[in-house]
């Protein structure tokens, strides 16, 4: 049972990281980009490639994964967001980000292959460490670190405050002279880098696998909706709840009900508290 909890927590931390990626992108663009999970997939695949194929040391591979994630965030903004938001108020970003996510996944499948490939040890440790194995704890540490880092960023830095301003009212922010396009681009780069870092940290758990992105996009969204859109604490709690609940459900009733329980959790929360556990209702004064 303890192993189910720990494994669920580790997987949930990855979902939480995907939810944080959603949050950062959403804060400046009001877009729920379907590429959120794919940033982590790229972090895992490129991390493995840097270390195993290019033979780079762990710190350089880590930096490389973060850079690749950031570059993908930038590409998302340029290709799937910028022009769509400039030309339409409709939710066409759903299609544009889905198209980009699909293309990236297919490209990785062609280049990297469709079978999962190993992710090397990040910290020297024997494989017999059981539940203390780094594969469980690295994603948890990174997800918590990302959430704390984001809170500090929002509260203590000028750019963080600009993110918050755009999140409150994008038109007012633009009227006050904030370069909203540039800030949005920065947020996408940052979100991509966060995803790359999370994917690298969870690589030993997930293997370097091209199809991971879609799973994380879906479960990251559930974590986000459960925790509350825009809340970093909510993302952590939602991710952990989803991971642990899925794991315990599998433990007691078998894997065939895992997805049903995940989506069931989403339905229950949306019915009882549509804004999520830590979300806030937006009241627009008229």
């Amino acid at each position: 049972m303890l192993s189910a909890l720990i494994a669920g927590l580790a997987t949930g931390a990855l979902y939480a990281a995907a939810a944080l990626v959603y949050n950062v992108m959403f804060s400046t663009s009001k877009v729920l980009s379907v590429t959120a999970g794919h940033t982590a997939m790229l972090g895992g695949v490129f991390g493995a490639w840097f270390m195993q194929v290019l033979g780079l040391p762990v710190p350089l591979a880590l930096i490389g994964s973060v850079v690749v994630g950031g570059a993908f965030g930038l590409l998302t903004d340029i290709v799937a967001i910028r022009r769509v938001l400039a030309r339409s108020d409709e939710h066409l970003w759903l299609l544009s980000t889905l198209a980009l996510a699909t293309m990236v996944q297919q490209a990785i499948a062609l280049w990297w292959g469709t079978e999962p490939r190993p992710f090397p040890r990040v910290i020297p440790q024997d494989f017999g460490a059981g539940l203390l194995d780094q594969k469980y704890w690295l994603p948890v540490i990174v997800a918590i670190g990302l959430a704390i880092g984001l809170e500090v960023f929002y509260r203590r830095t000028l750019y963080g405050k600009l993110f918050v301003a755009m999140s409150e009212d994008i038109f007012a922010a633009r009227a006050r002279g904030i370069p909203t396009d540039r800030i949005r681009m920065l947020s996408y780069v940052m979100a991509g880098a966060m995803g790359g870092l999370a994917g690298f940290a969870a690589g030993q758990l997930t293997f370097a696998y091209f199809a991971l992105g879609l799973t994380l996009t879906l479960n990251g969204f559930i974590a986000l909706a459960v925790g509350g859109l825009g809340s970093n604490v909510g993302a952590l709690v939602g991710g952990a709840a989803l991971g642990i609940l899925s794991s315990i459900a599998t433990y007691y009733v078998g894997g065939e009900f895992q997805q049903t329980i995940s989506v069931g959790l989403l339905m229950v929360v949306l019915l009882l508290k549509p804004e999520g556990l830590f979300g806030t209702r937006n009241v627009r004064p008229v």
């Binding site: 017999g128 293997f207 599998t250």
Partner: protein
């Protein structure tokens, strides 16, 4: 009638005669393969065998003087695409025979379409429901059935290593679910109720609980029925990390070369046995059957002497499917679907590389039980394996 008209008429008749004799219609083989996408690794190897056989037959003059023309369509592992491409092959390309699709999920969708179109279809998916002499009279299976793999694995667990406490682990895909169910049913029929049965998501990141439960239930064999190499590698890793040396006996994907890279330590791949084929199993002296060795020599002649780093049986199966078409057209004396059907129904012990095939009016599964053998999962060498002890 003027002389000119007579000459023109004679020339037209001569031309028609000449095209009929010297440019006979080629035998068009539709090849539905998932060359890209998540299920592509087996298909790519099979495609090598298919192409190699077509080239070989065409080099020696074709079949009854008719060249083979391969019409390849990539389904990307998607049943919807497979359906559209099967219709295209049947009604637009007007092929004479279809090989594939490669995966059972796609075949379940295409077999009824090709049956309605009346096109002979060589099945290379292992799910039992794919053949039925009444519903799909033109469908003949070249690969073994899933049940044959399971029966071989059960026989090994129960009768060879004499274990009775079996844990069955399937994945939640349609294939994994039905395979695990069949395995459990066959075990119960043999008087052995599995001590633990579970289905897990093929992408589940950790199998500690499942392996712990199997151990707590007293399992002395773990039988995984999943084609997901990631899941199988996690099973091997969990067993190894727990220092529990229980035999793992199951699906051929346990032997996939990709597993070698995914296990935490090379020794974790030991004490694992999977269903394989006599055709790709080394004997005690390290030799392969003569037909297999001949195919390897031909492949080396074409692609160089480097080590074969994929499962050779996929190449052998692809190669054999084209040779089966050659056999059927020769026996039928042409490409008439009914004649091809009769030819295949009357086929007994047709020697191939992958297997020796027999079909009848009632039996559409051509692969014989005795050509399945259990292999040591970690014994991959040059495309083939050693037999399990």
């Amino acid at each position: 009638m003027s002389l000119r008209r007579v000459l023109l008429g004679t020339a037209a008749v001569a031309l028609a005669w000449a095209t009929g004799v010297f440019a006979q219609e080629p035998i068009r083989i539709g090849w539905l393969s998932s060359l890209t996408g998540p299920l592509s690794s087996a298909a790519i190897a099979e495609n090598q065998g298919v192409q190699f056989a077509v080239e070989e037959i065409n080099r020696t003059g074709g079949v009854n003087g008719r060249k083979l023309e391969l019409v390849t369509r990539d389904t990307a592992g998607d049943p919807t695409k497979a359906v559209n491409l099967a219709k295209q092959l049947a009604f637009t390309e007007k092929v004479h025979v279809v090989i594939g699709p490669v995966n059972s999920g796609e075949s379940l969708a295409t077999v009824p379409i090709l049956a309605r179109a009346g096109i002979p279809n060589l099945i290379i998916g292992s799910v039992d429901e794919l053949v039925d002499p009444k519903k799909y009279p033109n469908a003949f299976r070249a690969i073994n059935t899933n049940r044959q793999w399971i029966e071989a694995a059960n026989h090994y667990a129960l009768d060879v290593i004499k274990r009775r406490k079996i844990a069955v682990i399937g994945d939640t895909s349609g294939y994994g679910t039905s395979s695990a169910k069949t395995a459990a049913e066959l075990l119960e029929k043999a008087g052995v109720k599995p001590v633990y049965s579970v289905l897990v998501d093929p992408n589940k990141t950790d199998l500690t609980d499942e392996v712990n439960k199997a151990r707590a239930a007293g399992a002395d064999v773990v039988m995984p029925w999943s084609a997901a190499t990631g899941l199988l590698a996690r099973l091997l890793n969990t067993r190894g990390d727990m220092d529990w040396n229980v035999p793992i006996v199951g699906h051929p994907a346990l032997m996939a070369p990709a597993i070698r890279e995914l296990v935490n330590k090379p020794e974790y791949w030991g004490n694992a046995v999977a269903a394989g084929y006599v055709s790709t199993t080394y004997d005690d002296k390290g030799r392969l059957p003569a037909a297999t060795q001949a195919l390897i020599d031909k492949l080396h002649g074409k692609m160089g002497k480097g080590e074969i780093d994929y499962m050779l049986w996929w190449v052998a199966l692809g190669y054999d499917t084209v040779k089966i078409v050659e056999h059927a057209v020769k026996q039928a004396g042409g490409t008439d679907p009914k004649a091809i059907r009769r030819a295949l129904e009357n086929t007994r012990a047709l020697p191939g590389v992958y297997a020796t095939y027999s079909w009848s009016a009632q039996q559409r599964n051509g692969f014989p039980d005795h050509q399945i053998v259990m292999n040591q999962a970690n014994s991959f060498k040059d495309g083939a394996y050693r037999a399990a002890k």
